[in-house]
Assembly symmetry: C2
């Protein structure tokens, strides 16, 4: 485990809400909170600044770094935002420079799934593992790879796009522009639609309801997640053959369904993994919806001042 050697704040900006917190030296979360995301980044981060000032006062810890996790792709240098489908007014905003000025702190910016993977590898379910792959299941399907304590980002900082592995040729269209992506098949909208179709409903119920039904043993709801696990297993197997991880973690809101999903992932993945590489641990993520801000804070604490 890598413990931050200074207090750091983290924020995980989603389309609906911002989750944030303060980590003390050593990594303990000494403050946590959330608030609705504003349409503009200026308003959102002004609110974050106000709240972090209160948090510092109440927790008696002064953050010396700020990490921000953001949805969607980011340019390799993490200086400005890319196109954020869920936050259109934010596209192109020079995030690092503006936040450094606003907060007066060194700032780290990272993709939300990467930040979550970093947190799980250092302080969560991937502790002690050498090569960690995290999948985050929600509206989108994200991924992050941590190898020997560092994010694996590829040539342009966009590695681990496991949600966009093609798992069904000629499958449904994905917002990314291609077909048959894992995300198009197991993103929360697809799962809701799958439940509605199986249950003969005109409108998909909120996914939380389908998860809750599955946890109570409802066969229709369970079938949705077993099918999702089968698709996820195809992508997990490809990733295991390429990355040889010792730890594969499933996180994000959809993962709350638990055991039945993990079992279906395993049953689908194992026959597709080279026998010599089957010795990996498949488990749920441990840090829940705090992984993003924790990882962002940890990444920030590791930045050069």
């Amino acid at each position: 485990m890598r413990a931050p050697d200074m207090p750091a704040a983290g924020a995980d900006v989603g389309g609906g809400s911002v989750k944030y917190g303060v980590l003390a030296e050593g990594g303990r979360v000494v403050f946590r909170g959330s608030f609705p995301t504003s349409p503009t980044p200026e308003d959102t981060f002004e609110e974050l600044r106000r709240r972090l000032r209160e948090a510092s006062a109440s927790a008696g810890v002064e953050p010396r770094r700020l990490g921000v996790a953001l949805p969607g792709p980011l340019p390799a240098d993490r200086a400005a935002l890319g196109e954020l489908p869920n936050l259109p007014a934010w596209s192109g905003w020079p995030v690092r420079e503006r936040l450094s000025a606003l907060f007066g702190l060194p700032v780290a910016v990272e993709n939300d799934a990467n930040a979550a993977a970093f947190a799980e590898a250092h302080l969560g379910a991937g502790r002690g593992c050498r090569t960690v792959l995290l999948l985050t299941l929600g509206t989108g399907v994200g991924g992050g790879i941590v190898h020997e304590g560092r994010l694996f980002l590829g040539a342009e900082g966009a590695a681990a796009e496991i949600g966009h592995l093609t798992v069904q040729d000629d499958g449904p269209f994905c917002p990314c522009g291609k077909r048959g992506c894992l995300e198009a098949l197991v993103g929360s909208r697809a799962l809701g639609a799958s439940y509605a179709a199986r249950a003969g409903l005109g409108e998909p119920p909120p996914l939380a309801e389908v998860i809750s039904l599955a946890r109570r043993g409802d066969e229709t709801a369970l079938a949705v997640f077993r099918q999702a696990g089968a698709w996820l297993g195809v992508a997990v197997a490809a990733a295991v053959n390429l990355l040889n991880p010792d730890c594969v973690l499933i996180g994000g809101g959809v993962a709350a369904v638990g055991g039945p999903l993990l079992e279906a992932v395993r049953a689908s993945a194992i026959p597709r993994v080279m026998p010599a590489l089957r010795n990996f641990r498949l488990a749920g993520a441990a840090l829940g919806n705090e992984a993003g801000f924790i990882g962002a804070a940890l990444l920030a604490a590791g930045e050069e001042g």
Copy 2:
């Protein structure tokens, strides 16, 4: 580029022959040769020792490190050989200790595809790239990943098994024990059989003949490699979505067919790659069948003495 700062010898041990050479400080190959692999590792490396002594004398360069590339999986610590399907009598041999004693030099041991990827990234077609993926096409289909100048090996040193990605569910059995592996579909035996079936021959011709026919424009032979490229593209796309390489190289004997294969790989891969990640270079490898010994020598030159 990383140039070795000391002379180093390299050897690439295959089931049929050993290719070896001496690299001067700076990376130039000052001697190269090959000889048939003996049934036992002792006889093989005794012959290598005799030949390297002659090579040093004739080239006037004294190697200070030895790197050895070997086929098949190796344990994470690279101390002993694993099961080598093409060299059964070699299985379990404590390669690093024995070679250090025999040669009186620090020894590096690596999987042959990884060694080739390391050579291509530093001195071949991947020079200047940040994240290089190499596929080696022969009897087996191997892979290697080099990121920021270092091999990406995963948790147990077995990453980059792209030949064992499942690209056809319920596809043909692979020697690895599972079905539908890329290797089972595009390994040289499968390609020979595919040509024989298309040409109505009872026996597959040597693959070199099929490659030569394809290079002269024979439609039956070309169809074999176009189909192979289509399968390869499925695996390349998965790897690009996960690794975000700037450079994907195709090497090994089968790659000698050249353009038609690369075009088929590209046509199959691109629609399966997330649009934001399509900006990678796909090219043939540059170092031919010397990549293995060059990479082994480079890896050895980078070892601590």
